[in-house]
Symmetry: C2
Subunit: 205 residues, 2 copies
DNA sequence: CCTACCGATCGGTAGG
DNA sequence: CCTACCGATCGGTAGG
């Protein structure tokens, strides 16, 4: 059936995207050859090109799929209608869960986004902005005085720094899990917000 | 004089390392050609090879110089004999200052360290461990109960996450400076530490 | 879907 | 003899 073939095609392509993400995460996009991708997938190079247009297409699909999932998480959590602080806590927990099960894709997204063409890069950055904005919005609702002091953006980015940097030190399979670190991040963050004084806000523009 | 010639040689090489770091940070190590490095430096390729052994040597020197400066910062601050919390605050402030004036090198260190040979990579990672250990040590002194709950390492890495991620969102020349964010980071961190409860510590091994 | 290739460009080095 | 380079091109390999 045509339906079957399409399904098999999708499954095979997802498999290829996962294998490619692993190679890109390990060796970097530029340093990874299409021959290596084909070998890792157990297919010939021409077969590989049956599932992806070119090497760049591979990178675009990996990045777009990952950022799309994060955007979806944001929309799902927003639809829950939670109070601001709880909303941030749930978002952080779910972001970290996504990172945990897509570590290669996360690494590719953070390190190889510079190799995307302008249009593709813009689309990915729009997604990232959407995700950041959701957290910043919740923070503004929780503490309007932070918004007034122009502290929401930097604080939001410090929060993302804590979770986005996790892939560099949190080894998969270790005693410390992503799920265990997520509440540490939000406890640290909300516990510390009060300590940020207005005197330290950036010069007004 | 031989002294003069050596000095000129050093200056020229430092210039090359800075230009190469800028290109590596922008395009990535693998995607940057030695021709591009030579062009950016205004020298011929054979001239470039007079100052560096090969492309790999370029990467090693950039990474080693940057991590060496961070290690030196750690040793200088430790020699000041400050109380633990103040020690961490000064270290963070000085790390951020280093990042601010060596943004390209910092980006290369975080993104291209995977292209180093095993020996060179090990030496760089040793330096990074030395830097992390200095902060973790101060944190253990400040709150021995965190050490007991195995929270020092994760908390230290969350702190580094906040500052190491800054290069992705803090635009040079913007209204918000590295110097302004450093105290925000330490205020947030020390203000939040109390909120980390023992109940959230990772499962003991 | 494979073997066999291409235009181009890579890192590195020859002779002068 | 040394150093500090230049114009030209090497052997191999990348994506396709």
């Amino acid at each position: 059936m045509a339906r079957m073939r399409t399904q098999t095609y999708q499954i095979q392509r997802d498999f290829i995207l996962a294998k490619a993400a692993a190679l890109f995460a390990q060796r970097g996009y530029t340093a990874t050859s299409m021959n290596e991708v084909a070998d890792a997938c157990g297919v010939s190079k021409p077969a590989l090109y049956h599932y992806v247009q070119d090497k760049h297409d591979l990178l675009v699909r990996i990045c777009e799929r990952h950022i799309a999932r994060l955007v979806q998480v944001v929309e799902e959590v927003e639809a829950q209608g939670l109070a601001p602080q709880q909303r941030v806590c749930v978002m952080v927990q779910r972001f970290v869960a996504e990172y945990a099960e897509a570590q290669n894709e996360h690494r590719v997204l953070t390190e190889d986004v510079k190799f995307l063409e302008t249009d593709d890069q813009q689309r990915v950055l729009d997604g990232e902005r959407r995700v950041v904005k959701a957290v910043a919005q919740a923070l503004s609702e929780l503490r309007p005085e932070l918004q007034q002091a122009q502290l929401v953006k930097p604080l939001t980015m410090l929060l993302f720094g804590m979770i986005n940097w996790m892939f560099t030190w949190l080894r998969p399979g270790g005693a410390l899990t992503h799920a265990a670190v997520a509440p540490m991040v939000t406890d640290l963050f909300f516990g510390g917000i009060d300590a940020i004084r207005a005197a330290e806000r950036p010069a007004s523009t």
